[in-house]
Each structure stands twice: as C-alpha cells, then as structure tokens.
C-alpha cells in the first residue's frame, strides 16, 4: 500500500497536477507517526510512511494548505473524507485546491495499548489472523489483535469514501456500527452515577488543548478560548467548574458538525473518552430530527442549522430529554 501511494504521489508531482503532498512521516519511534508535507520525490522516498500506526486525520491541515499556491495531494481514509466534506460544507477548505486519493482505512493501532501490556521497544507489528505479532528489541511478542486497536477504530462507522478524485484499493460500505453502545450505557446510569463517571474522566484534563487543536470541526479563526475579549480565555483550569465545562462547551460547539472521526480521544494524553460526549449529541440529533451524518455530503442542511415545520417542538425535546 505504502509503495503504491508513494508511486502515485510521485507521478502526480511529476506531471504537475499537484505541487506538494500531505501524508505521514515517522518520528523517533515506529509508532510515533505525524502528518507531514512532502514537496519532492526524494522526500517521499525517504520519509513517507503508511502503516497500522498512521491514524492521524489530515483533513484539518488542508484548511491552511488549500489557501496556498497550487494544488495539494491528500491521502484520505474513509473517516477522513467525512471531515473533509464537512469542512467543504463550511467553506473552510477549497475543494478545487485539493487532489484527494481515497485509501483504505484502519483499523489502526494504539501503541499505548500495546505498551500497557508491558511490551516495550516496539520495532514493528503485523496482524497474523487475529493475533498481533509485535517485533521488539527484545524479541517477538504476541497479543490479541483487537486489544491493540485504537479506540477510534473499535467501532468503525464507514469504510466508504464520501469524496475523492481517485481511489487506491476498493471502496467500502457504510457500516452498521455499535458506536452508540457506550452512550446508551451512560444514558442508563442514574444521574449521580453519570455525574461521577464524567467528573472522574474530566478531572483528569490538563487543558493541553490537544483535542481542540486536532479536531477538524474546531477551525475558528480565533478560538474563544484564545480570545482575551471573550472573557473565557484561559490556559489551565482555574477551578473544577471550568475543568468540567471546557469539554462540554466544546461538545456543544461542534454539535451537528462533528463527524465522529474520533481524533479527540486518540490524541488525549489523559485518555479521556471525549468522543462519547460528541456521540451523545449525534445520537440525540438522530433520534430527534432523523438520522444525520455530518460530512456525508456538502449540500444538505444540518439539523441544528435548519428549521422544518415538522421539527419536534421544544417542549417535546424537553420531555424526551428527561428520563
């Protein structure tokens, strides 16, 4: 796969279709993969990587990149294409300035989950029929494949690319996923249990802002949390109220726009399951206004930005929202 991607990228650079490529390159460790821009065939050969650890969604980078001179080639996994479409819908990216190659998605792996098994010195990994064979400095290790999956890949909503110029590999289908199972579990808790759950999770937050910075729905020119005029600009949580509210406010902010790409939970250094907040909104929107998948297309009206005469009345929202 990586080979095919590099070859195609080189062709597109050579024939002038694009003048740069956004992909991934390796960091210090094999699992330490970050998005990167490549401008030459040599750079691609030397550093371009695509493997089980390249989980990052590059769509958000295109907000800035697509405003530069010339066209950029982007490799997008199915989930990334939803984010890209949503950004197109919000006029944050210019579709014409991006050449999109759809590539098969995950499941991607979470190195932290492997390390939690006591496996260190990871050099590489491969899937051997449901067992995950990890090559380490100290020899070969094995663990069940699904236990190493990145949280965002545990319940995949779609293998289908909703936007692309060409594909490498076959296109998949929208999947029946169990992604709302945990949300349901939380809904079935008593108010106190739920409060305790979230209090425990959110109290771990160190306000590093990684979730905000990686989120493809968080692309404001000036974030309220960075704006001294907003009155809420802050770095560290000043009190427990703010600690609780930051993520809830952010979830409200991206409600109806979040495509459920799962990047927020993936990058959280404290392992807070932030995607559950967003999924609660998605689930509620689905049940109140009919199924809606943000980023599925670029033209439809999002339920929270739309008004129909048969929308449920506010009182009904209220009644149905209360257990």
């Amino acid at each position: 796969m990586q080979e095919a991607m590099i070859n195609r990228a080189k062709q597109l650079l050579a024939d002038g279709t694009v003048n740069r490529v956004i992909g991934w390159k390796r960091g210090e460790f094999v699992y330490d993969v970050t998005p990167a821009i490549f401008e030459t065939a040599e750079e691609l050969d030397a550093e371009f990587v695509y493997d089980d650890f390249t989980a990052a969604n590059v769509s958000k980078y295109l907000v800035k990149e697509c405003k530069k001179e010339g066209k950029i080639l982007a490799f997008l996994k199915p989930c990334d294409t939803y984010s890209f479409n949503q950004l197109t819908k919000e006029h944050r990216v210019v579709r014409d300035n991006v050449y999109i190659i759809g590539i098969p998605g995950g499941p991607k792996l979470d190195a932290e989950k492997i390390k939690a098994k006591g496996i260190t010195g990871i050099l590489g990994a491969k899937n051997d029929n449901g067992t995950f064979v990890i090559e380490t400095l100290y020899g070969e290790e094995k663990m069940p494949y699904y236990e190493a999956l990145s949280t965002k890949c545990e319940s995949c909503k779609s293998k289908k690319h909703v936007v692309y110029d060409e594909l490498i590999g076959d296109d998949g289908e929208v999947l029946e996923s169990d992604r709302f199972d945990m949300v349901e579990k939380l809904e079935n808790m008593s108010a106190q249990e739920r409060y305790d759950f979230w209090r425990e999770q959110l109290s771990k937050c160190i306000r590093c802002n990684a979730c905000r910075n990686v989120c493809p729905a968080c692309t404001c020119e000036k974030c309220v949390f960075d704006n001294p005029d907003s009155g809420v600009e802050n770095k560290a949580p000043a009190d427990s109220f703010e600690e609780n509210m930051f993520h809830i406010i952010r979830a409200f902010h991206v409600a109806g726009r979040c495509t459920d790409c799962g990047e927020c939970s993936r990058v959280c250094p404290q392992n807070i399951p932030l995607h559950l907040l967003n999924r609660k909104f998605i689930k509620d929107i689905n049940s109140l206004y009919g199924n809606y998948q943000a980023g599925e297309d670029t033209t439809s009206r999002a339920p929270l930005n739309d008004y129909k005469t048969d929308d449920c009345e506010a009182s009904i929202v209220h009644e149905r929202g209360v257990e």
Binding site: H91, C220, E221, K222, V224, R257, Y307
Partner: protein
C-alpha cells in the same frame, strides 16, 4: 467615564406598594458610573419625562436607566424623551420592575431586593450601550389577505377602498367561507346569502382586488413593508380565464356521486363542480379524486361539452411570487369533528346532525330545497332536541376549554325558525347556561322562549340512543326540576364547538406569528392591540383570532384593514437599528448564519485581510444587510466563532447583565 442616571418609577402603587422604591433608588445610586438616582410617582408622565430630560442636560448623562414597567409599554416614551434632551435614544435601558417584579411578588423585602438586582443588571448593560442610528426601509404598496370568508372579504374591500391593491388567497374554489353556508343570521334573521353575495360580487368587481381562489400560501419571506410571498395556485383543470360558469359540464358529468362539501356531505355533486350558484369566481373546478378522466383517462365528457374549451386535464399547480407591504390573516374556523362523542350517536344515526348541517338542511339551496326533513327517511320531524356546548367549555381532552361564543345565539335562531315555519314541531334546548351578551341578543333569546315557546332546559344530555322505530331516545337531566328526562326525538342537533382552521398553524410558522394553545392567533395586546399580531406587518381578522359572530368579525376585519392601510400609506418605515453585524476578524465564513437567517439578510463576500504575520489573505466573511435584518438574533447563536453579534443586545452586554445578577 460613564455618567449614568437612574430613575425609579412608583407607577402609583403598582410598583411602590410592593417595592420600596426609595431603597431601590438609594442602592442603585451606589453603582459604578451612576451620578444621579431618583424616584418619582409616574415617570411616564410629562413631569416624569421632564425629570429625565433635565437630568440628562444638567448632569451631562451618558446613559439612562428607567426602572419601571415592561419596555413594551414605555421604552419608546423614554427613548423619545432622551432624544429630545440630546442623548442618543439607544443609550436608554429599561429595568422591568413591574411585570417582572412588583406584580408577581407579595413580600416587600424580596421584591425590593429583586428590583435592585434588575436595576443593577440594567446599569451594567447601559455601560456597554453604544449610540445607534435608525435607517429606513421602503413599503410595498400592496396587501395580502389570507382567507376569503366574510372577514377576508371585508378587510380586502376596506383596503381597496383606500386605493391600495389587495390580493385575496382562498383555498376553496370560491370565496364566501362559512357565511355562505349559513341560512339566516341572528338577531335580525336576514338571509346570509342576501347580505354576503353582494360583498363577494363587489370584491370580484373591484379593480384593486385580485382573488386567487383554489390557492394556498406556501412560503413567506421578508418583513414588515417588504414581504415576499409564494402562492400556489392549485390545478383546477379548468382555465379560469376561459370558463364562463355556464355549468353545462356540471350537468353532463357522469360522476355524480361525490359528497358535496358545501352541503356538509348531505347530498352529492359531480366531479366537475361549481360549489354554489353565487360562487365567486364562478368557475368550474375538477375534483381529481373523482374525475374518471384524471384517474384513468376514460371519459372527457366535460371537455366535449365545454363550448369555450376551458377544460384542461393537463393543468399543473402554478406558483406565483408577489411582494406585499402588509399581510392580513383571516383563516377562520371549522366546527370540531364529533368522532369522540359516541354518547351523542353522531356517527351512528343520520338524524343526529351538527348545527352547520342543520343550516344546510333548512336552506333553500340545501339538499331538501329548504324543507326541513330528517336525513334518514325524508320525513318531517315533530320533536327536535338541541344540545348546547358539545365540545365547548370542556375540561377533558375531547373538547375545547373555551366557549365557542356563537352557539347560544344560532341555536336560539334555529329553534325560532323551526317553530315559526313548523308550529307543530316541539323544540327542546339543553344548555349549561345561555350566553347572550350583544346588541339585541338577549331580546332575541327571550323571544324564542316567550313568543315561540321553545323549551329551554338547564342540564346536559347524557346519552342519545337511536331506536329501531326510527325515534331517538334522548336521556337528559333537568337540573332546575332535579329530574331525569327521556325524550323520544325525531332529530338531535349538536352545537359543535368551533376551532381554528387546520391551515392556521403551518401558516403561523411561515409568518413567525404566535398562537395560543388552542391554535388561535395571538394578538399583540389583548386589549389595546387586538387586530395586530406581535409580528410587525401581520394583522388578524375574524375567527382566526378567537370565536366571533358575524358583526364582530366584520368590525374586526375593518379594524385590521385600518391598521394595514396605516402601514401602506407610509412610503418608508423606520428600521430598528438593533441589527446583527459580523466581526470580520473572527468570522470563519462557514455560512451557518446565512442558513438560519429567516430574512435572507446575510450574504458572503471574499475580502482581503492583513494577517497578524503581515501577509495578506483573502477570506470569506459574512455581511449583514441592516435594512433587511429584523434583529431576531438567530445568527448570533448559530455562529460557531462568536463573530456575529446584535447591536443593543451584544453578547458582552448580556454577559454583563448576567454577571450583575449573579454577583
């Protein structure tokens, strides 16, 4: 440095009896920026206003806070007073310490505390007020009347009389509405058609009036003085411009078994039909649910007999768009469905009818040519029982909580007419109480009782049972005599409650007007603005606002017309300067605001910006057309970046108010 004046009104005892106004004035005097804080008996009076004006001049005030009644009452008064003293009127804030404080509290200490807090919030807000200047927007010199019953017709005639163009949109094939179905009118007993049809003809002949019959309003955009309305002209499969109303097609149509809605389904009409002889426009309409040609392409008789070639089986719905300055809603009422009232056997027995059905049974153009006969066996009824309040004044979910208002009078009318025409018929009326306020109304009712010997019995009917011998057993209680009655009636007439037409609710949504829980349109003020809706430029006429008889409906229709004319004579209206604006440095250009704007006031443009890193970038940013913006604030909450803000109600002003309250 701000110099703010605070003025606390006693409103006689309205405020002062529950709020210690002296303490409020004293406390607010210590707020930052406040240089003068006074109380006065009536701030809205001439001398109260002078107090404000003088203080503005004397203390060189930069902001004014009036602690008084709701801003809906006197905000304008104090804005004008401020402007007269040279202060921008939008630097005045009202703290509502009457409706939101003194009137709803009993304890003086609590109410006083709350009044101080409300005052502090207003002071905090006025600190951030900016002077605003109002613009102007033009008024389209044309009115739309929705509904072509007596209310709509009267409103249209009055507006046309003043020289303005009016369009009537009527969903039925003819105008006339419910009044066209009524036989006689109380309390004078003149024939409804005789007084209505001249008005219908007048409307059709008036050069200023355009009637869109068989049409519906499907979309309303814009705002007072500048509405853009889409009207769907439903396909009637007959070319209105060619049809002469000769009626030959209706005679020849072989499909003769269509329930005739004009006669309440008591007889049949043809698939191509003209609702009644005096219909306006007198044009045939083909009912696609019954026409054989439209259903399976076999027939075509009407097209063959039509001498002018008006039949057009391929006609499609047409949509027209028109600009209006004012809209009058006159959507009227309907009797409720009686499906849930099994105790009255309405669905089981054809001789149990509603009052509106009785109107048709007695009408010369009705199914029996004006002779009152039982629908079941076409015999003359000798004993008729009227049941009042069927579904009116109900506290259960089956009916309506309100009094339908017209039933007492029309039942007296029916009883009297029957006794007059058929003296051998006994008439019983069961009532909860008889309500006859109105000019000559009680005299009319008394005549029914005293002169015509109608048996009025206080009590409710418990059960109506059709018997096998054709009689109807009516079981009822006489509350005054305290006894149970059984009457073997030939007919039972139910005074069904009335409810607003079903089209009213979707229409209210389109017009962004308010409705009450019963789906009657809500007037801007129940006493002082009875024919205006709370949405500027939308007026209310007739029973869409509440149950009404004909004289009241006509009076209100003319009142609504007067209000509409008052708007249409203006060349332009002053805009509200409290409009939205976008902070371009923060705008993401995401189009959220554009999508939620009900007035299409927001557009986008690509603009060049100097970026913080000294480069220039072209960014897509929102811009608001202040003449079109109606200050609803939808964009400010839809905006994800907080770039959209509302003049006079900015996010920071509202946060300042909240902070002041929570401090």
């Amino acid at each position: 440095m701000q110099r703010i004046g605070v003025f606390v009104c006693h409103c006689g005892t309205n405020i002062a009896a529950t709020v210690d106004v002296k303490t409020v004035a004293e406390a607010l005097g210590h707020e930052p920026g406040v240089v003068i804080s006074q109380d006065y008996q009536y701030m809205c009076s001439e001398s109260g206003q002078n107090l404000v004006k003088n203080a503005i001049k004397e203390h060189n005030l930069t902001g004014v806070v009036i602690c008084s009644c709701s801003p809906r009452m006197h905000e304008n008064t104090f804005r004008k007073a401020a402007a007269a003293a040279g202060l921008n009127p939008y630097l005045v804030e009202i703290a509502n310490i009457r409706e939101q404080c003194s009137w709803i509290h009993k304890d003086i200490a609590t109410a006083t505390d709350k009044a101080i807090i409300l005052g502090k919030a207003a002071v905090a807000k006025v600190h951030l007020n900016a002077p605003l200047t109002a613009g102007e927007s033009p008024v389209a010199k044309r009115a739309l009347v929705i509904g072509g019953g007596i209310a709509g017709i009267q409103t249209a005639l009055d507006i046309a009389e003043a020289g303005f163009d009016v369009d009537i949109v009527e969903k039925q094939p003819t105008i006339g509405g419910k009044m066209a179905q009524i036989d006689k009118t109380f309390p004078t007993l003149d024939c409804a058609a005789c007084i209505l049809t001249p008005k219908m003809v007048e409307a059709s002949q008036n050069e200023h009036i355009t009637i869109h019959s068989f049409s519906e309003v499907t979309d309303v955009k814009g705002f007072v003085g500048n509405f853009t309305v889409t009207i769907k002209k439903k396909a009637r499969y007959v070319d209105e411009t060619k049809c002469t109303g000769c009626g030959l097609c209706t005679e020849k149509c072989p499909m003769k078994k269509v329930p005739n809605e004009f006669n309440m389904g008591l007889d049949n009409r043809t698939a191509v039909y003209i609702p009644f002889a005096q219909a306006v426009p007198k044009v045939a309409t083909i009912d696609p649910n019954y026409c054989m040609m439209l259903k399976n392409g076999k027939c075509g008789v009407c097209s063959k007999v039509c001498s002018v070639g008006a039949i057009d089986y391929k006609q499609q719905d047409r949509f027209i768009e028109q600009k209006y300055g004012a809209i009058v809603v006159a959507t009227g009422f309907n009797p409720i469905k009686l499906d849930k009232y099994d105790e009255f056997a309405y669905n089981q027995c054809p001789d149990v009818v509603t009052s509106l059905e009785l109107e048709r049974l007695m009408n010369a153009a009705g199914p029996n040519g004006g002779t009152l006969l039982r629908p079941s066996d076409k015999t003359h009824p000798h004993k008729i029982v009227f049941v009042q309040c069927v579904g009116s004044r109900c506290d259960d979910s089956k009916g309506k909580p309100y009094c339908s208002k017209i039933c007492c009078m029309y039942t007296a009318k029916h009883a009297m007419l029957i006794r007059e025409k058929y003296p051998d018929t006994e008439v019983y009326v069961f009532y909860i109480d008889v309500r006859t306020p109105g000019k000559n109304f009680d005299e009319f009712y008394r005549r029914a009782v005293e002169q015509y010997n109608v048996h009025y019995i206080k009590g409710m009917v418990g059960k109506v049972t059709p018997r096998s011998d054709g009689k109807i057993d009516v079981q009822a209680s006489d509350l005054l005599a305290n006894e149970q009655l059984h009457i073997d009636a030939d007919m039972v007439v139910l005074a069904a409650a009335i409810e607003p037409d079903k089209t009213a609710r979707p229409l209210a949504t389109m017009l962004t007007t308010q409705m009450d829980t019963n789906d009657f349109f809500t007037e801007a003020h129940p006493k002082l603005r009875p024919v205006e809706s709370a949405t500027a430029g939308i007026f209310l006429s007739g029973a869409c606002q509440g149950p009404k008889d004909i004289p009241e409906t006509v009076a209100q229709a003319s009142a609504a017309a007067a209000k509409a004319i008052g708007l249409l004579v203006k060349n332009s209206i002053t805009c509200n300067p409290c409009v939205a604006h976008s902070n371009e440095l923060m705008c993401n250009g995401c189009s959220s605001c554009e999508k939620v704007c009900p007035y299409r006031a927001i557009t986008y443009e690509d603009k060049e910006f100097r970026m913080p890193d000294r480069t220039t970038a072209i960014r897509r940013v929102a811009s608001v057309n202040p003449a079109v913006c109606q200050s609803c604030g939808a964009c400010t909450v839809a905006c994800p970046s907080g770039a959209m803000d509302l003049n006079g109600f900015s996010n920071s002003q509202i946060m300042a108010e909240v902070d002041a309250i929570c401090k």
